[in-house]
């Protein structure tokens, strides 16, 4: 990592340029909404932007934070008194939390020019909380900056989004992710390439895989489990479903599987160019020949449906059982 205290952001060049230009020209807006897929870099970008906003001598680097002043130092330590970070409590942002923000937004900053609120996962705010913020979001005091973050921006009230400048982050290019992994997390080239492809442009995910061996092992475990499933019978499938339903991180299960079957389908229909699991090509190819494309498609649809269910109030075990019964049969 860089030695100074600049909060670094990889990729999202256009967004960095945009926000830095606004900081330097002193024409930042009072409210921003950072959107984009999970692990894509929204929070990092918002934090770096908050750092730049409170920096005493913003420069031309990154988002503008100099990384030298006391303010930047505090921001990097997440200890800046004018930076308030609001995260969902028990999965929800409640109206009380919002009322607190509304009150604090009327106060002057303690250290510098701005008081910055970073509200994560704002789509988790219930309607009362979201509506309560509307007026503050529209016309807050001149020293208030509100940065909303949401990966499900479609679930936000239109009245919220229209009051913000929207910074919609898109997936990074595979190359950017691979380069960042090699340069800053010292990941070997081959693994970096593989993770970059699998991350589908979400650097945060790739970094998690690269830096936490347990996460990557779990990914590979799920991959192998799925590899075995098409040949397994009902009993084995049910046993696995029960086991999986006990864990709570459904994403770490479904994501490998989605990519797994995506690769199989792509092998069946477009050939090997676009396959992501390059290291498993022969195994996937074998399966591609032993399953029917129509069945693979049906299973992919079922996987996506289960992913949607996982965010709703369903019995995880039932969902898993039903899903595993649908795994295509290999001949």
């Amino acid at each position: 990592m860089p030695t100074d205290d600049i909060i670094h952001v990889y990729g999202h060049r256009w967004a960095q340029d945009l926000l830095r230009a606004a900081v330097l020209a002193r024409r930042t807006s009072h409210a921003y909404l950072f959107t984009g897929a999970d692990h894509i870099g929204k929070t990092t970008l918002a934090r770096a932007f908050a750092q730049a906003l409170t920096c005493t001598s913003p420069g031309e680097q990154g988002l503008g934070g100099c990384g030298q002043c006391r303010s930047c130092h505090l921001a990097a330590l997440q200890a800046h008194p004018d930076h308030r970070s609001i995260v969902p409590e028990k999965g929800k942002i409640r109206v009380d939390a919002v009322r607190e923000i509304i009150h604090e937004a009327t106060l002057s900053p303690i250290e510098g020019q701005f008081k910055v609120f970073i509200i994560t996962a704002f789509d988790r705010a219930n309607p009362n909380a979201a509506n309560a913020l509307l007026k503050t979001l529209e016309e807050p005091s001149a020293s208030t900056r509100i940065l909303l973050i949401s990966s499900q921006s479609a679930n936000l009230l239109p009245t919220i989004t229209s009051r913000c400048q929207i910074v919609n982050l898109r997936p990074l290019s595979t190359e950017t992710v691979a380069r960042a992994l090699q340069e800053n997390w010292q990941v070997p080239t081959e693994l970096a390439q593989l993770l970059a492809g699998l991350s589908r442009g979400r650097l945060g995910w790739a970094v998690e895989m690269a830096t936490q061996p347990a996460a990557w092992e779990s990914y590979q475990l799920q991959f192998q489990r799925m590899q075995a499933l098409p040949r397994q019978g009902v009993v084995e499938r049910m046993t696995l479903a029960a086991e999986l339903a006990r864990g709570d991180d459904i994403e770490s299960i479904l994501q490998p599987w989605l990519l797994f079957w995506r690769d199989v389908l792509f092998l069946q229909q477009t050939g090997p160019q676009l396959v992501l699991h390059r290291d498993q090509l022969s195994a996937l190819q074998d399966l591609a020949q032993r399953t029917q494309p129509a069945a693979v498609r049906r299973f992919l649809a079922a996987l996506m449906q289960t992913a949607t269910y996982s965010r709703q109030n369903v019995s995880l075990q039932l969902a898993m059982e039903s899903l595993l019964l649908k795994v295509p049969v290999s001949s």
Binding site: A21, R26, P171, S173, Q255, Q269, L274, Q292, A301, L325
Partner: protein
């Protein structure tokens, strides 16, 4: 400290309000005739001018200008006080954060006091739909007969949440989405006043993405100006929105017409690597295909609002598609746009939708279909790419859908492979004569070859009719492939079923000698016959031994 554009350029008089002349004119007339209501309800989508109009009305009723037509003049002490938001008699209440009945009671108690300096006390209650039921009810009496000196203006984006008893006590004004032309004109005016250079195409792109909300348009303009570029062009706007150029969309459509899944997906990935916003891409692609559909069906360039140079190009492209194909692709992409919200799926829904749009193709290198899995499924899917395996709930998407090919018309069992192969060859060769014919023939399924009669079944009547009108070409190709002249008989599915039923059993194609042993020993019923059976075979890996209940 700079303010956001939408705050700095809030309209300050009736003439400034964009695109809501029906509201502005009515209010002005009411002022002129001294017929000011005591309660107004402003409703309409976000960013259409509700709060702004409420403030203007507050100024107008209190303005000190001598001539009613000049009000609000924005220069008298009252107007200035309101513009600087320091007039005590304009009370703006954020109903969303003061939702309770106690808040309303407090308001009600204060209503009785006469204004401090203005003629009227104006209460603007914004986001009024958030008031609780009891709060609404507590307001009712006051709203019905407020003191002489009080005007209520309620504003909301969600009028359906307002109780009828409140609605009936207010004069209701519906604000409309602002037209693109109005937004464009307003943006240009603001850009001029701000000294920002912006190309007409960029302005149009901003206006289009704002979907009728002026605040959205101004937020975006604000954001893009903060780049600090000398001139804002359309590339910059696209960069911020994650849009792709019309050129790239057109190329993707070309690839779709070409029908090679690999090419389509390679192009999609090239765009993803450039950092395109998936939802935007899908929207743009759908819009492009819609234009192609209009050109294709209407055959009249007046239907589409495009420059002449584009029309020629797009008409050529349109002719490479069949209307049914375009419709199908648009529907599939629409579903994909919704499915993009699926957690952890990334842009997989779009990849699948495009694969689906090009048509499911099997690799020729695949070994023969396994015994237990009917050839029916892939063949049917190939002949009529249906979105059935896509983005629907497993319950619906499951094979037990009643729409699954009915038993009688279900594609002939594995023995039909030879006929199917010949038919594929026919489809492939037809492309030489006319891509259009080729496309409709893809929708056909060979049912039987009896003596000199080749029966082709079509699911869609459009395919059927086109084939009938092109029968000469089709017969020619069939003769080439089959090596002898045949009578080609296109039929719809119903007729096919009747026809098949009328045939003697030996007329139907018999399984070739190479058929798998279980199949030849006893005619195994196609699992397609029975949805339950089909699920058992395809999803659970069962093998069909017999379907005779007596034997079981």
């Amino acid at each position: 400290m700079t303010q956001a554009l939408y705050r700095r350029y809030r309209p300050q008089s009736f003439a400034d309000i964009v695109g809501q002349s029906h509201v502005a004119d009515t209010l002005r007339n009411a002022l002129r005739q001294q017929r000011i209501g005591h309660a107004y309800l402003f409703t309409g989508p976000r960013g259409t001018g509700k709060t702004s109009t409420a403030r203007i009305l507050a100024k107008a009723v209190n303005c000190l200008a001598a001539d009613v037509d000049d009000r609000p003049d924005n220069s008298c002490s009252i107007c200035q006080a309101i513009n600087e938001s320091r007039l005590l008699d304009l009370i703006e209440i954020d109903a969303a954060s003061n939702t309770s009945v106690d808040d309303v009671r407090e308001l009600r108690d204060r209503v009785a006091f006469v204004p401090n300096e203005a003629r009227y006390k104006v209460y603007v209650i914004d986001e009024v739909h958030m008031l609780s039921t009891s709060a609404f009810n507590a307001l009712l009496k006051t709203l019905e007969e407020p003191p002489e000196h009080v005007i209520f203006i309620l504003a909301t984006t969600e009028p359906h949440k307002i109780p009828a008893t409140v609605l009936s006590r207010c004069q209701r004004f519906d604000f409309h989405r602002i037209s693109s032309q109005d937004i464009i004109a307003h943006l240009q005016e603001i850009a001029r006043r701000e000294g920002v250079q912006i190309t007409p195409e960029a302005v149009a792109t901003i206006a289009r993405s704002a979907t009728g909300s002026m605040r959205d348009a101004l937020s975006l303009l604000d954001q893009i100006t903060s780049y600090g570029h000398v001139e804002i062009d359309v590339d910059l706007v696209r960069d911020v929105l994650g849009m792709v150029s019309g050129e790239a969309v057109s190329q993707l459509a070309d690839a779709l017409a070409g029908g090679d899944p690999a090419t389509v997906l390679m192009q999609l990935h090239a765009l993803i690597e450039q950092g395109v916003e998936m939802t935007q891409l899908v929207v743009q692609l759908i819009e492009h295909l819609r234009l192609l559909l209009l050109l294709n069906v209407g055959r009249d360039a007046r239907l589409v609002d495009l420059p002449a140079s584009m029309v020629t190009k797009m008409t050529t492209q349109a002719s490479a598609f069949q209307p049914a194909q375009l419709l199908h692709t648009i529907r599939t992409l629409n579903d994909a746009a919704l499915a993009l919200k699926t957690p952890f799926a990334g842009y997989l829904p779009v990849e699948l939708a495009l694969l689906d749009a090009v048509g499911v193709r099997e690799q020729p290198v695949l070994p023969a279909a396994p015994v237990t899995v009917p050839a029916a499924t892939p063949v049917a899917a190939k002949a009529q790419p249906q979105p059935r395996a896509h983005t629907q709930s497993p319950v619906k998407a499951g094979p037990q859908r009643p729409q699954a090919p009915p038993a009688t018309s279900s594609p002939a069992p594995a023995g039909d492979a030879h006929l199917q192969k010949l038919w594929d060859e026919v489809v492939a060769r037809a492309g030489k004569y006319s891509p259009k014919t080729q496309a409709v023939l893809r929708g056909g399924r060979p049912v039987a070859l009896v003596k000199d009669e080749l029966v082709i079944s079509f699911q869609y009547s459009f395919h059927l009719e086109t084939t009938q009108s092109e029968i000469e070409t089709v017969s020619k190709v069939v003769a080439e492939v089959f090596g002898r002249p045949l009578v080609v008989r296109p039929m719809d599915e119903k007729t096919t079923a009747q026809y098949v039923a009328s045939l003697p059993p030996e007329a139907l194609p018999s399984p070739p000698p190479s058929a798998p042993p279980t199949a030849s020993a006893e005619p195994v019923p196609t699992p397609a016959d029975d949805p339950l059976l089909r699920m058992a075979v395809e999803d659970l890996g069962a093998q069909v031994k017999s379907t005779d209940p007596k034997q079981a």
